[in-house]
Symmetry: C2
Subunit: 194 residues, 2 copies
């Protein structure tokens, strides 16, 4: 299983399957996929499904109708223990698990980050909480963000005053961070487990 590259068309097939499962509750047949994506021959669709399967994006049960399912639910979010300084990419080693939220609850988040420390208690964010993070390079004044300070990922409130950006804690014990940092994402939600 070579985790090959996948073409645009194959990605659209994947999307269509996801859409069917979401809307109708079951996957499409090979011919339904073909009809939707203007592929006239079932063999051609089957070919793409084989590619998707060998790329690890699709699970298939051979020879039975609609015998396919997405390898990863589009609503499944990885739980990260920390944000790597390498930004963008998520290191698989840091993934503690997964949580599936429906589209509404997901709020466009890309991952969950486990909060370390008590610097945001004033905003109701406690140690151990999972914050839902949407990846983005920048954010507006007052928004709670995940930022990279050196190698470390932190959850703070972003302040923009007179062109100056700072990261404020919601805990009087901590000083604002004015040093260089990079916004990695915006906090769009929070999950806590008692």
């Amino acid at each position: 299983m070579s985790t090959k590259e996948v073409t645009e068309l194959q990605r659209r097939i994947l999307d269509f399957i996801a859409q069917c499962v979401e809307e109708k509750g079951f996957p499409p047949s090979i011919r339904e996929i073909g009809r939707r994506l203007r592929i006239t021959s079932p063999s051609s669709v089957a070919y793409h499904l084989r590619v998707l399967e060998s790329a690890g994006l699709l699970k298939r049960t051979d020879a039975i109708s609609r015998g396919m399912s997405l390898a990863s639910s589009p609503n499944e979010l990885p739980i990260l223990g920390a944000v790597a300084a390498g930004s963008g990419v998520i290191a698989a080693e840091d993934v503690e698990g997964h949580v599936t939220l429906d589209r509404d609850a997901r709020r466009g988040a890309d991952y969950l980050l486990r909060v370390k420390g008590d610097s945001m208690v004033g905003a109701g964010i406690l140690e151990g909480d999972l914050v839902q993070v949407r990846r983005q390079d920048d954010a507006r004044d007052g928004e709670i963000v995940v930022a990279l300070v050196g190698e470390e990922g932190v959850v703070k409130r972003l302040r923009r005053k007179a062109g100056q950006a700072a990261l404020e804690s919601e805990n009087p014990a901590y000083e604002p961070i004015r040093g260089p940092f990079q916004v990695a994402g915006k906090v769009v939600g929070l999950l806590r487990r008692y």
Copy 2:
């Protein structure tokens, strides 16, 4: 349709469908259901599916293979705006919506309750947060519970000292409640949307 009673066998069919969707990613065929539940004739299974559909427990798309899906996901939690004093039963009028969580994230919760007021800010529970509540009559010292005080449902920390039970707020502005109250559930998690 009459939302009829459903037999034990029909409930087991429903469970089997749920299990298939969970494990394999797609619903079973009529004959697969029959094989599992020792029903030798496909027509008989089809009969039960019709009953389940008219009971509103199953959605069906006629004449296509595996064309069925559960009407309500077993992992779907209703969002309540308030807990009714009538306890036990959930009034449909109070349901603001639904959120689907996977079994792990669900934590045995029965419903979500929207938090009113700031009496629990000290515990990181803010106004507007959704707390995951598992229904139960009692709880241990120190646990955060949903309790009925008169007609009103409140989220507080339960204190048991020397046989005396009280409801404490996590906000110095509020006094503990010692008057009569009834525990309705235990808070097992929290969701917040920014």
